[in-house]
Amino acid sequence: MAVNTRVALALVALLGTATLVSLGSLPVRSEQSVPSAAHGADLPERLSDAGLFVPGTLRVRLDLLPFSPQYPLWSDGATKRRWLYLPPGTAIDASQPDAWAFPPGTRLWKEFSHRRAVETRLIERLADGSWRYAAYVWNEEGSAALLAPADGIASLPVEGAPGGRYVIPSQDDCLACHEGGPVPVLGVSALQLSPDRDPGAPNAEPRLPGHVDLRDLAARGLLRNASAALLEFAPRIETPSPTARAALGYLHANCGHCHNEGGPLAETGLLLSQASADAAAVNRVLHSTVGQPSETRAFDLDQRVVPGRPEASQLAARMRSRSPLTQMPPLGTQIVDPEGLALIEQWVRQLAPHKENSP
């Protein structure tokens, strides 16, 4: 399907040329508005020159902080490792508990493996406060990783990846997920690094020795202006049932970066993000899903969540789909997450019909 879509996009370039015969008469357009690969313009071509490793080696620097969010993003079963780098003398500002402000110079790395390392992604905050994104692609031998093109790689042959192929995201893909919420960093937050980890989180990764959490960051002086309550009472999603807690955490991590209150999709009214300091977020998810009309009629379903009936709920149907026309999430995954889907279906089954506020 994705290949067909690429073919189709090539085709539309041709069709578009035919349709746009009148454009030649328009004034010259500003070059400034034409999208470019400027985000990655100054990035090193080789990962080994990009600050992740001890120079001259492939050993991760000791001053990087490994971490593991309690609700991981589903990435088609890839094994992931993550690191945070904060410049010396700087700290994260937690004045807004759910929109941490990271200092310029912050870098975050995430490595994706299918039996071998395939890709390492970088997010970096620049001196002017903007963020840039990059993907590095490992060779089969694991001896080097090179900067991917800004358009990404639609189909990279990788033995061990589902279907034997792997997708490297484009710059637009990076922005789609990381610039749809209050802060581009998704895995380092009060909820994701809470010491009170959810044992029911699908695809959960163990917190290994040395992995930092919320309290570690504070203890090391790397988190400033955090409220006493945030540090004393480890954030957790407060629900009556473990199923609901895990389900809402899953939706937060896999959907909430786009479907949230303050982002560009807020007008859809579908709110799936959680907040460490706002217990009302649980009810917001329910009010925006249960019995609510869906924006589209995909699968001929007209409600986001029908209590007790996952088969009639568009939210679950989209999770069950991997057609590019209907799947959710629309990016970063080519196969269904069986554990995540089973959890969401179980949650929907447990929702009592016509009862609100009973997650």
Partner: protein
């Protein structure tokens, strides 16, 4: 197959002079901002008309001189009442794309696509869209910059090069036209 868009573009250019005037700016705007808002909408109307948007987003009907856009349903996309059967399979050869008589349903290697309702209807059109949603869609070729890919024949590879000012003008114009309640069907995947 390629004649239809070319013919449509010519018609759209001619129709630029007969389109209804844009809605007036909201009451209460200052004397200074009103002309600016009107100028933006006028610019958007010009761009929409000359860039061929009506070719596919306004359903075509038979007219005395042949098929022509039904401007009473201007830019409302594929009519929800027009049920499209499974497209016929084309024999091997150079022909790849089929279009319905309304010019609003298209079949090709991508499946079947239906042109979107661009009017400001809140439930079925762009009524709840923000300028950012619109710009992100055109720039990235994904709905609102983050959803599914926008399908052919929408010429995203060309339109993504519009300036921000032009996209803002186009969006302002689209928000000013009459709302038409018309729920466009979801696209269909290619036959497996």
């Amino acid at each position: 197959m390629t004649r239809a868009p070319l013919l449509g573009t010519s018609l759209a250019v001619l129709l630029a002079f007969s389109l209804p005037p844009p809605a007036h700016a909201a009451a209460g705007e200052s004397a200074a901002t009103k002309p600016a808002a009107n100028a933006k909408i006028e610019r958007g109307r010009y761009l929409v008309t000359t860039s061929g948007c009506n070719d596919c987003h306004t359903p075509w009907v038979p007219g005395p001189k042949g098929p022509e856009p039904d401007m009473s349903r201007m830019l409302s996309g594929h009519p929800q009442t027009e049920v499209i059967p499974t497209p016929p399979q084309l024999p091997p050869g150079p022909w790849m794309v089929l279009a319905s008589g309304t010019n609003t349903a298209w079949a090709g290697p991508w499946g079947v696509s239906f042109t979107a309702n661009l009017t400001p209807d809140k439930e079925t059109g762009l009524g709840k869209w923000t300028l950012r949603n619109f710009v992100d869609t055109i720039r990235t070729g994904r709905r609102k910059g983050r959803g599914r890919e926008v399908l052919p024949p929408m010429p995203i590879p060309m339109y993504k090069h519009f300036t921000d000012a032009d996209l803002e003008a186009i969006f302002a114009y689209l928000q000013s036209i009459p709302a038409v309640k018309n729920r466009v069907p979801e696209p269909r995947p290619p036959a497996s």
